[in-house]
């Protein structure tokens, strides 16, 4: 987009919605808190291999004598402090949480991105072409959405088996329909606007009209759904892993860490489940605070 635009008034008009959006977003302290929380959790999770005190999946670095130590204990041999305690296999809970968050975020981010691509393609095509294609696609979406997400995911996983890639596939199957329905709804309205008619009159190809004209104008609701869906994906993945049908033991997510500590919780060793649980809740709440406020800003009904 580096075409030399010399007329400044149009540039101003084009820039102002984004700037207004930034100003509006900053007004809400709760949403800003959510955003800061998201960043504070994401950075250490991504950087886990470099900043975690211990690699919790390197068996050699674990000292079995240090198992089930309460938070704040100091290791006998290596001298590192287990700030959040250790689990039954002497893993440092803090390190496990950092690695677990990494897995959780990876699964959620990948599945939401792919579902967004599939869902918005389906939704845009259904709205643009209409007719039998629209009817068929939306019937499939309706039927899928009438089944609870957890059941669809359980069926997918009991068919596919365990594994990180399988969890991602199951989450994509669960989520694409939400995107398809949302995008179709917006695109149906946008399709009859003048700019689309103008583009058609210029006999531009349908691919170009959909990608360059229709899609950018369907973005606001798409951003909202994608944000909130990120939290839903984290929650659903955690649930599946908690039930024991999600990620493999070698790459535990927060959900699996919680499940591992569950049996020790009743005997008072709360930290093995509790800290992964807190990390999970903070991530979900942070994303939801941001998403909820985005919905308020980007909803044209509220803007008026």
């Amino acid at each position: 987009m580096s075409t030399p635009v010399t007329v400044s008034p149009t540039a101003d008009v084009e820039e102002s919605p984004f700037r207004r959006f930034l100003v509006q977003f900053r007004e809400n302290r709760l949403a800003m808190a959510g955003l800061i929380l998201m960043i504070l959790l994401a950075i250490p999770a991504v950087a886990a291999p470099w900043i975690a005190p211990q690699n919790p999946y390197d068996i050699g670095s674990l000292d079995i004598l240090d198992s089930q130590m309460p938070p704040g204990s100091v290791a006998d041999v290596s001298g590192i402090t287990y700030w959040l305690g250790t689990d039954s296999q002497a893993r440092d809970v803090l390190s496990a949480v950092l690695y677990g968050m990494r897995t959780s975020l990876l699964v959620a981010f990948l599945s939401v991105t792919v579902s967004l691509l599939i869902g918005s393609t389906v939704g845009l095509c259904a709205a643009y072409f209409g007719g039998w294609l629209d009817a068929l696609l939306m019937r499939i979406v309706d039927i899928q959405l009438s089944f609870p997400a957890i059941l669809v995911a359980l069926v997918m996983l009991s068919v596919l088996g365990q594994g990180l890639d399988k969890v991602i596939i199951a989450l994509i199957v669960v989520q694409w329909a939400y995107f398809a329905r949302t995008v179709r709804g917006t695109a149906l309205v946008e399709r009859n606007r003048e700019y689309v008619l103008a583009a058609r009159c210029l006999s531009l190809g349908w691919r170009r009209i959909i990608a360059r004209h229709l899609l950018p104008n369907c973005l606001p609701p798409l951003i909202v759904i994608a944000t909130i869906d990120l939290a839903n994906a984290i929650a659903l993945e955690a649930t599946l892993s908690f039930l024991g049908v999600g990620v493999p033991v070698t790459q535990p997510s927060l959900g699996m860490l919680i499940a591992n500590g569950f049996e020790f919780m009743l005997s008072g060793q709360y930290w093995i489940s509790f800290f992964p649980g807190i990390a999970l809740a903070l991530a979900i709440v942070g994303i939801n605070l941001v998403g909820d406020h985005l919905r308020d800003i980007l909803n044209p009904r509220n803007a008026q």
Binding site: S146, P148, I150, L151, F242, L243, G244, I258, G277
Partner: protein, 331 residues
């Protein structure tokens, strides 16, 4: 008018055929999908068993037939309520599920009742005064309620009430009383103590949703002329609330509560696993993990059947209560 009257039965018949189609398609998907996982005979025979013994077992279970023959046999039997026998216990799969059903239904009914009793008043409150701090607190709380995973809420409740305070049990069903063939927990004090945490776990998430629906409906109804008119007539605020408002927000609440009932039965899978509640959801998870195919297939087909019927009933009820929905069908 005549045309409109004819539209409704056509709609119902259409949906009925669609429902049967969905059930058939789902039964094929579930069956074919689950056919691909693992070889159940490897779990049933001892490792020392000879190949001949394995073959005999495969034959006894019908696993030596082609997949389509297996499916058609399965479908034919399913129509008669026969979903095969559990690979593990040898009991009929349907009987296993039906035995566990009362525990699940009891849990879900208590949870849904809780969510409506708590959710509707809070939702109306938040809708009447959207700017008040209390309303903002309610709405923020409801975000937490439906975005935090079910098992997490259960975990925290266990930590607080079972481990820290030590006043409520964290697992199993407690004392039950038999009413006919059905064992119920809600008739004993011990049963209620065991029911409290799982029902609260399941109910909190649903209450959060009911709050949001009620608030949205309240805000939509409040500016209507009939409310203004009732106010102008000088009716007491409590009467406006209980008669004019409540009657009109009832439709979306009933619709959502109905749909959520189906969701709650499905999400009971998670709650039951956390609390070792002996319902059919726990049975499903156990069966998935042990590859007990007949039980998984029977559960899923029954759930699909139940959800499709539930959706159909809600659609029809919705059309019966709300005339404007009937208009929409024609478009």
């Amino acid at each position: 008018m005549r045309k409109k009257d004819r539209q409704v039965p056509v709609f119902i018949i259409n949906r009925l055929f669609q429902a049967i189609g969905v059930i058939l398609v789902m039964s094929v998907l579930v069956f074919v999908g689950l056919y691909l996982i693992g070889d159940p005979t490897s779990m049933l025979v001892s490792p020392e068993a000879t190949e001949i013994e394995r073959q005999a077992l495969r034959k006894a279970l019908g696993l030596d037939q082609s997949i389509w023959v297996q499916y058609l046999t399965f479908l034919g039997n399913a129509v008669h309520g026969d979903f095969g026998r559990s690979f593990l216990t040898g009991q009929p799969a349907l009987q296993l599920i039906v035995e566990r059903m009362p525990a699940t239904v009891e849990l879900v009914v208590v949870a849904m009742t809780f969510s409506v009793v708590v959710g509707v008043p809070l939702g109306i409150l938040a809708g009447l005064r959207p700017k008040a701090p209390s309303s903002k607190a309610i709405m923020t709380g409801s975000i937490l309620g439906f975005s935090l995973p079910n098992f997490w809420i259960g975990l925290m409740l266990i930590m607080l009430f079972a481990v820290y305070l030590g006043i409520l049990p964290a697992s199993a069903r407690g004392e039950t009383v038999n009413v006919g063939p059905v064992a119920l927990s809600i008739l004993t004090l011990d049963g209620w103590r065991h029911l409290a945490l799982p029902a609260l776990t399941l109910g909190l998430a649903k209450a959060a949703l009911i709050i949001r629906v009620t608030r949205a409906a309240t805000r939509e109804v409040l500016p209507m002329d009939y409310i203004k008119f009732a106010r102008a007539k000088g009716l007491r605020p409590s009467r406006i609330l209980n008669v004019h408002l409540l009657k009109n927000i009832l439709i979306p609440i009933v619709t959502v509560a109905g749909l959520e009932f189906g969701q709650a039965i499905a999400f009971a899978v998670v709650t039951e696993s956390v609390f070792s509640w002996p319902g059919m959801g726990k049975l499903l998870i156990d069966s998935i993990i042990t590859l007990d195919r007949p039980v998984v297939v029977a559960y899923l087909v029954m759930m699909v059947f139940f959800l499709v019927i539930l959706n159909l009933v809600i659609d029809i009820l919705y059309m019966a209560i709300d005339p404007s929905a009937r208009e929409k069908v024609r478009d």
